[in-house]
Symmetry: C2
Subunit: 404 residues, 2 copies
């Protein structure tokens, strides 16, 4: 008789967004006229930029004729896209990354979930707390995390690195040395950024201790400050200790288009095994490449027109983030994030729990956000609002919160 | 110090297609004017059908406006596509499969590679021999296959089920009971089909012995015979023992568009654990859905226009398959496949090995095919030709082979 992967059964239910949906549905049923504004989602709302739409149409037309039809893509991605990423996202910033160190994928969620597979089963992971749930959950599925304590909502074999107001939401170097360190900056959910000097300390720590850093740079497009790095490869020595995950979702609005990239330098080795080779083998065996039309759309992001249009789109969301940040601050809230991020992270007032504040905000302002406790124990007492709504809705939501 | 997944290091190099490429390159260099025809590839060459192109353009236009823009897709797929598949591929054939038992993905390669992840580490797999390499390789990566014997090119903990001329390339029920049974019909690489009565025996065997069948139906569109099932769910009892993998690659030419589906009936349970729930958890945690525009293209496959156009495209490849089959037969070869498949499987003449025949065919006819031994030990002495070239090239290739 076959058996199932028992690790899957250890996963606690993922109730955050379904609980939110249930609460909002119940409130709407009781208050059918309440003009609810949703600032809880991490999904974009602006349409794709014209240069991207044009590239998509043009690629679709190519697929309509035998002479220009494209079948199986190279597993690791089309050269035209890998080169554009290498040049624009890395070499232009002085990062020593070559096109053949870039693997194209269907998005950073898949990559951040799958990357753990090339590591040994006994590797111990470290994560920020609060954190994007995919890092921990996929390691649970692989059996790396030990046992779950429902009281503390933590796993026995995970090193949690609290990100709190005290440390500016940037964790301390862990005292117990982990094997794999997940870092996400600018951070989801806190919106905190890390300076280049601070990140350099992590790179040095990883190199010194034989740890690998999995660096999630999905939100780098929102960086506005000079001393905040867009890539971990801006740090010296990162080529021997870091993997970087990139996304097209939040910079170019590809949440429904699906495109990402993972960068594994050829200098990153465990003994004499190149992690680059292992990931190439995984890509070649379990993946068949991102769609041609989507890779062409990705390349359009790096054209002059594409760059200009996307800059404008990001500026739109950045304006929303500033609007939320300033509005809440004026209303007396303790807020962070926003400056280099589409996320605003606020301390709940009057010692409310995250969920109490969720109910309070829904009832008094008809605004939906995300309880910080849903991202980990250190998120308790915090709340996330996002900049991905329309400007009009964002403005209205903040006016209502100010008026409570 | 972190470690790597040692199972990856056990994988022998995958040299089949790179060896082919090297040999062809060397031959071309020595014979620059040789008019080489490639009938080795499993990739389609005909452009996407007009109904699909239209759906793609229309979906791209939707992405250009905020009112019709689509962000994150449902992890498990859009209802419009799941319903179209349930209705057309299953309910229309009398198969009891509901839309919410269908999971949309980026293709059958990903699904056939990832599906093993929801099973226990001690499950023993059975595969046809020869076989599509992904089934075994992904179980190697998960540590299920024991040790590799380079002499026999087999793994100690895999049950190989020889598919030879003697059994009509349909394997016998294994004497040692496996936990997971991979079946692919119509088969890659042999092109063999299985009748409904024969497949029913496998379903009964699996139900009786507590095994699960992973049924790869990627080539079902090529079936021409009445008694050959298009889905394992045409068999009684399959809902309690089978998972089916579907592809849009070979029926609608989506090799470069990327779309697939996996069907897991809710009755398929290990104890009280529904495999459907495990796969839903995997999809929700490690995947973010197929692109909206690609799912719209998939739905166009099921429109009246789409169906008619795709039927024509499949007929084109079927004609190629018949041309190869008849031509080789007339030339005195022992051939099989083709009738329900885009693949023709031939016995090499004069006891040549598969690679000897590869060289022979390349040199004498300038035709490239795929050595059967590349798909497993029982493929030795066989050779695969595919119907995915143009009709003109196919005709010319066969003429040359006849004239050797």
């Amino acid at each position: 008789m076959y058996s199932v992967n028992e690790n899957y059964l250890k996963l606690p239910g993922s109730y955050l967004f379904s609980n939110i949906a249930k609460k909002v549905a119940a409130f709407s049923a009781a208050n059918p006229d309440a003009p609810i504004i949703r600032l809880g989602i991490g999904d974009v709302t602006q349409p794709l930029a014209p240069a991207i739409i044009e590239a998509l149409h043009s690629a679709v037309d190519e697929m309509a004729h035998a002479e220009t039809f494209h079948g199986y893509a190279p597993d690791l991605g089309y050269e035209f896209l890998r080169s554009a990423i290498a040049k624009n996202d890395f070499q232009a910033r002085g990062c020593d990354i070559a096109a053949d160190e870039i693997f194209i994928s269907d998005g950073a969620k898949s990559d951040s979930g799958n990357i753990q597979e090339i590591f040994g089963p006994d590797c111990r992971i470290a994560v920020g707390d609060p954190v994007y749930p995919v890092y921990v959950d996929t390691n649970v599925m692989a059996g790396r995390t030990g046992t779950y304590d429902p009281k503390t909502e933590t796993w026995s074999n995970v090193i949690y690195m609290p990100c709190t107001a005290e440390n500016g939401f940037v964790p301390e170097l862990p005292k117990e040395v982990p094997d794999m360190i997940y870092l996400c900056f600018p951070n989801n959910p806190t919106g905190a950024a890390i300076t280049k000097d601070e990140l350099q300390k992590w790179v040095d720590y990883a190199n010194k201790n034989g740890a690998v850093i999995i660096y999630d740079a999905a939100y780098e497009a929102y960086i506005t400050e000079e001393d905040v790095p867009h890539s971990i490869f801006e740090c010296e020595g990162a080529r021997t200790c870091a993997i970087e995950l990139r996304s097209f979702s939040k910079n170019a609005g590809f949440t429904g288009v699906r495109l990402g990239a993972t960068i594994i330098p050829k200098d990153l080795k465990c003994g004499d095994v190149m992690l680059h080779s292992l990931w190439a083998r995984r890509h070649g065996t379990k993946y068949n490449g991102a769609p041609y039309i989507v890779q062409k759309a990705g390349a359009a992001v790096y054209t002059e027109a594409g760059k200009a249009q996307i800059k404008e789109q990001i500026a739109y969301y950045q304006k929303n983030a500033r609007t939320i940040y300033e509005g809440l601050k004026n209303a007396g809230y303790t807020v962070s994030g926003a400056v280099n991020s589409p996320y605003v992270w606020l301390k709940t007032p009057d010692n409310m729990t995250s969920w109490e504040f969720f109910d309070f905000l829904l009832e008094k302002a008809n605004v939906v956000g995300t309880p910080g406790s849903g991202f980990g124990p250190s998120g308790e007492g915090y709340f996330r609002l996002t900049a991905f709504g329309s400007y009009e809705n964002t403005l209205e939501a903040i006016k209502r919160i100010e008026n409570i």
